[in-house]
């Protein structure tokens, strides 16, 4: 009998899983469940060029922007059942059923969790109606309506999304203040040396970046109380303080949901062999970086883990064990004030950085290449304004270094 595969999350990860399954198991009956009304679309531009397009835009411009973001896909035929605008709310693992927000149920032989993340918010009430997060298209539309020249934007959190939307807003003529609890922006991803240089880069472009400060309260329209006793005021607030995995609907006590969904290297959930997880929800081991499972919020991960999960299901359907080796190369990029940051490998795991081209105090003026090492071995590359052809030349060296087992 043709297997029934239910994918929860009509996102990049869910879509790529469906495509890979459709290719590997053409007879499989696929159901794609997504709580957003939109077909799967690309999220990274929402804090970059699309945020700019949505600024003060009308309904026609919204539709055009969404149309451009929507993924073209290779899903054809009547074996895909799209359920958009419906959320998964629970599981009956004994009957292998997903429970839906509209009261319906869908039976599965294989269940793929691709429900992603939702933005964390500051634990304070206040300034309702002026607070924004940025994850979904509808979030970007709501924020875009407030991106008006001269408005004062407060951003809490100087991770990638916070830094990107701050740069975009500054470019649109807003006055931007960024509050970051750590000592520098994007600290965990870039390491202290590069993060400090990026702080200077943002300040030199007009961002009032205040690091080492926590928000202690929200008042008025909008006032933030800060941990140094000062306050800062603005017209709108963007909360870019990280994400929470959407695991509430996975009501199976056998799963490890302590940080996303813990899986093995085949993307199979630990505790339930009929459930797999993909995308930024999955906490999985990557042979390139040792046995510790990690959850990775990079854009490349959905595609890599989706193909992996589809291979696993196809192998098990054929009565084979899937290959156990999984070693996807991480990569990320960001665009801030016209500067492209592009990384391969895992800079976050490094204990040493070397600037091998350019200089950190000249970021944005001259191309810069940073090599990240762990125990003396190359573990990541970062180009800042570096032509991609130049960065690509260093990739073979990184591949070679990571193909050896990394010291713990």
């Amino acid at each position: 009998m043709a297997p029934r595969v239910v994918i929860v999350g009509a996102s990049l990860a869910g879509l790529r899983t469906a495509e890979a399954l459709h290719a590997a198991l053409p007879d499989a009956a696929l159901t794609l469940i997504g709580d957003e009304p939109h077909a799967p679309y690309n999220r990274p531009p929402l804090s970059k060029d699309v945020a700019e397009q949505l600024a003060d835009a009308d309904a026609d411009a919204h539709a055009a922007a969404l149309d451009k973001l929507t993924f073209r896909h290779r899903l054809a035929g009547d074996r895909i059942d799209w359920r958009l605008g419906v959320a998964a709310v629970g599981l009956h693992t004994d009957q292998r059923e997903v429970l839906l927000s509209d009261g319906g149920r869908v039976g599965y032989d294989w269940l793929v969790a691709a429900s992603g993340l939702r933005p964390r918010q500051l634990p304070f009430a206040g300034a309702e109606g002026r607070r924004h997060v940025l994850r979904r298209f509808d979030d970007a539309v709501a924020l875009g309506a407030q991106l008006k020249t001269g408005a004062r934007m407060l951003v809490v959190g100087a991770g990638f999304i916070g830094c990107e939307i701050a740069a975009t807003a500054a470019h649109l003529g807003l006055t931007v203040t960024v509050i970051e609890p750590q000592s520098a922006p994007m600290l965990a991803a870039l390491g202290p040396e590069v993060a400090q240089a990026m702080a200077q880069f943002h300040r030199a472009r007009g961002i009032d970046l205040r690091c080492g400060l926590n928000v202690t309260g929200i008042s008025g329209d909008v006032g933030l109380s800060l941990s140094d006793g000062t306050t800062v005021e603005g017209d709108l607030l963007v909360e870019a303080v990280g994400s929470i995995p959407n695991v509430d609907w996975l009501t199976d006590p056998a799963l490890d949901l302590s940080n996303g969904v813990l899986t093995d290297a085949t993307m199979t959930a630990v505790g339930n062999p009929r459930i797999l997880a993909v995308g930024d929800l999955a906490r999985f081991p990557n042979r390139l970086f040792g046995p510790a499972p990690r959850r990775v919020e990079h854009w490349c991960v959905p595609g890599q883990t989706a193909r992996r999960a589809a291979e696993t299901i196809a192998a098990r359907e054929a009565g084979r064990e899937p290959a156990s080796d999984f070693a996807p190369m991480p990569s990320f990029w960001s665009d801030q004030h016209g500067l492209r940051l592009q990384s391969f490998g895992a800079p976050a795991l490094a204990d040493e950085v070397r600037v091998t081209e350019g200089a950190l105090d000249r970021i944005g003026q001259a191309p810069c290449l940073v090599e990240y090492l762990r125990a003396g071995r190359l573990t990541g590359l970062l180009g800042l304004g570096l032509p991609p052809a130049q960065l690509a030349r260093h990739r073979p060296r990184l591949d070679a270094a990571l193909s050896e087992t990394l010291p713990a």
Binding site: G303, P387, A392
Partner: protein, 62 residues
């Protein structure tokens, strides 16, 4: 199969050059060049390159 890159969308991330180096490459000036017609044996690589494009600028046809 036919390969087209919409250069009005492409931002030179270079992900395709890594996913399908036989099809996509950078020229001496750092611009993207690609084979417009490729053998079907490279379909998996080209589809991986298309999927990996952050701007979704690569269009494939038969």
């Amino acid at each position: 199969m036919k390969v087209h890159v919409d250069m009005s969308i492409c931002l030179l991330h270079g992900q395709c050059v890594i996913a399908a180096p036989q099809v996509f490459s950078f020229d001496d000036e750092g611009g993207l060049v690609w084979l417009a017609e490729v053998d079907d044996s490279l379909r998996a690589d080209v589809e991986a390159a298309s999927d990996a494009c952050p701007e979704q600028a690569i269009q494939l046809g038969d």
